[in-house]
């Protein structure tokens, strides 16, 4: 009896789903989105999607594109690689979209763009950092943000430059430990940080990978503690960031400064879970609320509007990821699509390559110029850069580079755990 019910339920559900849904106005511009809105990366995926969504809302409210057409998103959820492939197939074959925006995660970006390229549709990636994403010679991929070398390398640059000076230790004497989660994201960023640190002559005492899935990082932390580094450079993707830093507190692992590289260290959840323990942590991160003076008037206005709407929806201020989504999508909607005149992938390509916007044009302070596809990193925005942020009072403030800084660094060197309350 039970089995009949079960089988019946299953079949019934399948039939209902197969019937399909969806009411689409012929005039709408249908664009696909793919983010991990469920699963381990949901915290970042949701934030990314929200940034993208706010861009869409603003553009639609201001008259849409191509003479009043509204943009409609066809959403896809990709908590992992397999889902990414399936969802991209669905978007392309069943939903007939010609352009997909994504994706928060390097891994998702990698796989989804692969499917897009095979079908020759445009994949507009605003977040993925791994160097390998834009190094496959793809012709329909555009990546608006920095590579791992940007954030990873940036953390080492910050250590060798600002921190060495502020701590009055010569770079060659500055003991630096590099730690990274060994997934696609962390391995890529960690490698960049390590190599840059060596290149700059820092005294690298450790280069340790760890599994983001471990429930306990005490062996790693104790090992690092034993080496007595001055500065910690770390790349964490998600919950491991919170685990790492809270275990560092429990095990009394003190460093003079820590420079993380966005990921799990740069999201609001980090500050929420660590409270005042998060203050003082630097993050070589994606540009967030930069100094308005550094933006063009239009970008300034967009930035203000974005913060207002994001706070209304989420209750917190947006972090680097959300900014990437918003700024990158606005470029697509305001600069590229109007020029292209349609969603024809070749026209969109040409429009994108024709852009030459100076720094400060994007809402997050970057400029736009895509590297031609026949060169290394083809399709990447060469005017994207990383900034250095710092958690201050639960908010990530931009503290460098100077012309973008909205606040000054504090807590250098970090107080010992035993001295904090």
């Amino acid at each position: 009896m039970v089995k009949r019910v079960v089988v019946g339920l299953v079949v019934g559900v399948a039939v209902v789903l197969a019937a399909g849904v969806g009411v689409v106005v012929a005039e709408d511009v249908r664009i696909g989105t793919i983010f991990p809105v469920t699963g381990n990366m949901a915290f970042g995926g949701n934030e990314g999607f929200m940034g993208t969504e706010i861009a869409r809302e603003i553009v639609n409210e201001r008259g849409g594109i191509w003479g009043g057409k509204k943009i409609v998103f066809v959403q896809a959820d990709a908590p992992d690689q397999t889902a990414a492939t399936n969802e991209m197939n669905r978007l392309i074959s069943r939903e007939n979209v010609k352009l997909v925006i994504g994706s928060f995660s390097s891994a998702i970006a990698f796989t989804a763009s692969q499917v897009a390229e095979r079908s020759k549709i445009i994949f507009w990636e605003n977040h993925g950092v791994a160097d390998t994403i834009a190094r496959r010679g793809f012709r329909y991929l555009f990546k608006t943000n920095v590579n791992a070398t940007g954030t990873g390398g940036g953390s080492a640059v910050f250590a060798a430059g600002y921190l060495a000076k502020a701590l009055t230790i010569a770079p060659k004497d500055l003991k630096v430990a590099v730690a990274w989660e060994d997934g696609t994201y962390g391995a890529s960023v960690g490698k960049a940080a390590f190599e840059k640190a060596k290149e700059l002559g820092l005294n690298v005492v450790a280069n340790e990978g760890y599994s983001a899935k471990s429930a306990d990082l005490s062996p790693l932390i104790l090992k690092l503690k034993g080496l007595g580094p001055d500065v910690l450079l770390v790349a964490g993707i998600g919950q491991d960031a919170v685990l790492f830093w809270s275990q560092a507190r429990k095990l009394d692992f003190n460093v003079k400064a820590v420079v993380a590289t966005s990921g799990g260290w740069g999201v609001p959840d980090f500050a929420k879970n660590l409270g005042d323990g998060a203050n003082g942590v630097f993050s070589s991160d994606f540009p967030t609320e930069v100094n308005p003076e550094a933006l063009t008037p239009h970008a300034r206005e967009l930035a203000r509007e974005f913060v207002k709407r994001f706070q209304a929806k989420k209750g917190t201020r947006p972090t680097g990821n959300a900014w990437l989504a918003f700024a990158g999508t606005m470029v697509l909607f305001e600069e590229v699509l109007p020029k292209a005149g349609s969603l024809d992938p070749d026209k969109v390509r040409d429009a994108a390559f024709s852009l030459d916007l100076p720094n400060g044009s994007m809402a997050n302070g970057c400029g736009v110029k895509f590297i031609p596809h026949d060169q290394l990193d083809g399709g990447k925005n060469e005017r994207a850069f990383a900034i250095v942020g710092q958690w201050q009072d639960g908010v990530m403030k931009v503290v460098g580079p100077d012309q973008l800084a909205a606040a000054k660094p504090i807590l250098v060197p970090l107080p010992k755990w035993s001295d904090r309350k």
Binding site: K3, A14, L17, V37, Q81, S93, D182, G183, T184
Partner: protein
Amino acid sequence: MTSTRPAVLLVVVLGLIVLPLTTSNDYYLDIIVQIFLWGAAATAWNLLGGYAGQFSLGHAAFFGIGAYTSSLLLTGARVSPWLGMLAGAGLAALFALVIGYLSIRLRGPFFTLSTIALTEVLQILAIHWRGLTGGSEGVSLPNAASVWTMTFDGRRTYAFVGLGFLLLALLVSWLIERSRWGYYLVAIREEEDAARSIGVPVLGMKLVAAAASACLTAVVGTFYAQYVLWIEPAHTFSIDISIQLALMVIIGGLGTLLGPLIGAALIVPLNMFLRAWLGAAVSGLYLVIYGLVLVLVVLYARAGIVAELGRWTRRRLPRESAA
């Protein structure tokens, strides 16, 4: 144990061949490819789980060995995946034989636990040996379509290749089922000690089942790699794959020829539809449903759908002498 009637088999095979021709839509073709792919892997799992009664939750290990071997050989030494696939199968069989020899006397849950542990170790090693495997960034396979590199432009071609692997797995299963080995395996599964006492080579048979199962799973792993063109440790050596294979076979019918395929044909589209319907709204709900179905099937209908169908047809159709 009744073996599947040839007439039914013929109808099914013909149906499978026709299936990829019924649609040109990429989305549906993708579902078809995946049904064939997972159906083949589930059929392979069934050799060890359904016929020999050893429940592995570590088949992702063989899947991954197949995928990585052929992919690394392709990217590193320009060896065609058709050949790399054989290397992968051989490696997987070797692995199965060594581990099997050591752990096959473990019964029930302990064998299962050790398979889980071994897959975890492989996953960790694949991540750690970055020089060899590329670590978490995985191995990226060349895009260019060419028969020699088992890469195709059209999904329909993939579907037919996948069908080939499925038919291979079914053939191996069918041959074993009808042979003396098949009877040995059933005897071992039902009453191992009794079987041993009448001279059935228990250890040898289980190892044969393990090796065959590993080979076929590895071959499917290669096909998977060539289909998605990117593999990495987290998803290739994942316990989720192992659980889904077991789920498909249990729902479809453990120890039957077509059970695994039926299970796959049910689970794969359901996966896609549920994800499209619920995924964006409520994460994980479809997995809750799968878990519940697994528990219910295992407690109340553990012979699976094939048995239910069999019972149903026997009731409705005129009685025939048992096949």
